[in-house]
């Protein structure tokens, strides 16, 4: 008897869901026919961050939202409950159900998100990535904050400028296997070799601080002892640069520092005078990256770009607009959009940025 009552209720529950489904699907189809214009109003653009409480990602989402809302579209910002691919899959699945027009993802894992991204693309959603990419076959394009050549060029120019055009410099990197750092260092070396302008610069050593503050400190001190004529240290890693900055400033060394660092950690070391160890340094501007992803989403949805290399689109008031999609170096034929040269943090703007990230 009890079973019967239960099963009747179960059936009722299922029937209720079905009915709910019918009602729901008809109203959503009305919505999509109504929005069949060429503009952004009525379109929904989503951004999925790595996780809640990631200030860098929050800035990206802020830039994205600003662009979408200024264009009159609806913006959904989704922060997964944890920084895992699993949590992102849950969120993306939900966005597919909602039938959004585009999803921009800062991926927690390249492979794990491949199937859900493919599913979204199959459902007619424009999928793009920013900050960190997924498997390149399962998205339309990737908004890259740091083109390898651009970073290499900015760093070698900074070294050239700070050293006064000649002299010894050293690099303080992360680990010897770090993919990003190695690519940037290679780019610096090849630019230096290819251009006569840098011929008086001499790279004496690439030291590895393993992204540990203590080891980076030790490596910096070793560099100072081994190379008395050293002029500049370039640390393309946030841990390395802050450790080196402290060593140089505490020892009142004449050696200067540049590289890639977090404004919040580096604010007290950045200054043009001799009391500060770092005249200027670089990192990406997460707000601009979010804005770029916003413009790219709009362009993908209205068909201005298809995600093929060579496509171009306007990005409002952004510095490097219009942007062109370039081909990935891995030969897959997939495209990426490079934000531009890294953003320079100098004594003039560091006060404004140090509270941001």
């Amino acid at each position: 008897m009890k079973k019967k009552v239960l099963s009747v209720l179960m059936c009722a529950a299922l029937a209720a869901t079905m009915l709910a489904g019918c009602g729901g699907s008809s109203s959503s189809s009305e919505g999509s026919t109504g929005a069949a214009g060429g503009d952004t109003s009525g379109k929904t653009y989503a951004i999925v961050t790595k996780s809640a409480g990631n200030p860098y990602n929050e800035k990206e989402a802020e830039g994205f939202q600003e662009v979408i809302e200024a264009a009159g579209g609806t913006c959904i910002v989704q922060n997964p409950e944890s920084a895992t691919a699993d949590a992102q899959i849950t969120v993306i699945q939900s966005l597919i159900s909602q039938g959004v027009d585009s999803i921009a993802i800062a991926a927690n894992d390249a492979n794990a998100l491949a199937s859900v991204c493919q599913e979204a693309m199959d459902a007619g959603i424009q999928v793009l990535t920013l900050d960190s990419d997924v498997n390149s076959a399962t998205r339309k394009t990737f908004c890259n904050q740091a083109g390898v050549q651009e970073v290499g060029q900015a760093l070698i120019d900074a070294v050239y400028d700070i050293a006064g055009g000649e002299g010894q410099y050293a690099i303080l990197s992360a680990t010897s296997q770090a993919t990003n750092q190695n690519a940037w260092i290679e780019a610096m070396k090849s630019i230096q070799e290819s251009d006569e302008k840098y011929s008086k610069l001499e790279l004496v050593e690439v030291a590895y601080g393993d992204d540990e503050p203590q080891k980076s400190t030790d490596q910096t001190q070793a560099l100072l002892q081994n190379y008395p004529d050293l002029k500049v240290i370039c640390a393309p890693t946030t841990v390395g640069i802050s450790a080196a900055a402290k060593v140089l400033q505490d020892q009142k060394s004449s050696v200067k520092l540049t590289g890639l660092g977090l404004p919040s950690e580096m604010a007290e070391y950045i200054g043009a005078d001799d009391a500060h160890s770092c005249p200027y340094m670089f990192l990406w501007n997460p707000i601009d990256l979010g804005k770029l992803a916003g413009y790219a989403s709009i362009a993908l949805v209205d068909g201005t770009i298809t995600g093929a290399a060579g496509d171009t689109f306007e990005a409002g008031d952004m510095e490097n607009s219009p942007y062109t999609l370039t081909e990935l170096a891995d030969g897959s034929g997939a495209s990426e959009i490079i934000l531009g040269p890294p953003f320079q943090f100098n004594p003039d703007n560091i006060e404004e940025w140090k509270s941001i990230y």
């Binding site: 009722a12 729901g24 691919a85 699993d86 939900s94 909602q98």
Partner: protein, 335 residues
């Protein structure tokens, strides 16, 4: 706990039809209907197709519900299942990357899960004086530790061959494979718990282990079997998770044990043992899944969803306690 006839040990009291509708399971079904209506009102996209499409990740978790229900009815607990999921997914991924086929991956996942469960069962039955909470806390750390060592420095592994495991993502129409497995598991486990002597023995052990032992029930053998079973189901969960995320990392399966225990408790299965029914846990699982999907579709803050589920859990434990207190007061007044 024994019924009036002395022949059966019923999980739910015998009573009239009114009591059945107002039973915990009846209330849960009403709640499930309410949640579905609520979801449909909240989100225009809350329909069968979308629910089924979003469900595989949750269904994998529900596999473990059945094993966990057995463990809880026995009066034990197993908080190592999340780590077993992590370890099985890791091992499955590494085996696949060694170039072995999907058959080997399935075998490894289920085998590793079963072994982990057997280890839990072995320790729990050999050292009966140890609380299973502490034993499985230990193995939880051990299993995740092994997975982390196997994953190496990066703490993450990705499958290179993502084609062959695709058969686990197969769908019949819109219905995913894991849905059928959940239904099959539900039929088997509900029948075993309610209709067989084995199921009755579980309740007997959970009600009073010493008495059960003296009536000739092979208490330790049944406990060992139940822990092994749960390990196996955790392996199954790890396998399906691997099929949907194509890899494993140190956070895989984090918190699954608590989510599964929450589903059971919400379904009316007491952690003190001897009480409750898988049907309740099964319906409760669907309530939680439907709520998460509905809230997800209106883009509610994911942390807020966790808060709401936590509140529901506490309320679900409070209601029976309060009604019991009221009932017993009524009875004493009558007497």
């Amino acid at each position: 706990m024994a019924g009036k006839s002395g022949r059966t040990i019923s999980a739910t009291p015998q009573g009239g039809i009114k009591e059945k509708i107002f039973s915990w399971e009846g209330a849960l079904i009403l709640l499930l209907i309410a949640v579905n209506i609520f979801g449909a009102v909240l989100s225009p996209n809350y329909n069968m197709t979308n629910i089924l499409r979003e469900s595989p990740r949750y269904l994998a978790e529900i596999f473990m519900l059945f094993g966990m229900a057995f463990i809880l009815v026995l009066g034990d607990i197993d908080i190592s299942v999340g780590s077993i999921v992590c370890l099985t997914a890791t091992m499955g991924c590494l085996v696949s990357n060694k170039g072995m086929g999907v058959g080997a991956v399935i075998l490894v996942c289920l085998g590793v899960g079963l072994l982990c469960g057997m280890l839990n069962g072995f320790v729990a039955t050999k050292f009966t004086e140890l609380p299973t909470m502490i034993i499985t806390l230990g193995t939880q750390i051990i299993f995740r530790g092994i997975a982390e060592v196997a994953l190496g420095d990066g703490g993450s592994a990705s499958m290179t061959d993502i084609q062959s495991i695709g058969i686990l993502r197969a769908k019949v129409g819109p219905v995913p494979l894991s849905f059928f497995i959940v239904i099959i598991c539900a039929i088997i486990f509900i029948t075993v718990l309610n209709k067989t002597t084995f199921g009755r023995k579980l309740y007997a052990i959970g009600s009073n282990r010493t008495t059960a032992y003296y009536t000739g029930i092979e208490v330790q053998r049944i406990r060992f079997f139940s822990f092994s079973m749960l390990g196996f189901l955790a392996g199954l969960c790890g396998l399906f998770l691997l099929a949907s995320t194509y890899g494993a990392n140190t956070t895989t399966g984090n918190g699954f044990e608590m989510e599964v225990i929450a589903m059971c408790v919400f379904g009316g299965i007491a952690t003190t043992g001897g009480k409750g029914n898988i049907i309740g846990g099964f319906i409760a699982a669907f309530i939680i899944v439907c709520l998460r999907i509905a809230f997800g579709q209106i883009n509610m803050n994911t942390q807020l969803i966790l808060v709401i589920i936590g509140v529901m859990l506490i309320v679900s434990v409070l209601i029976p306690a309060v009604t019991n207190a009221i009932n017993s007061r009524k009875k004493t007044k009558k007497a």
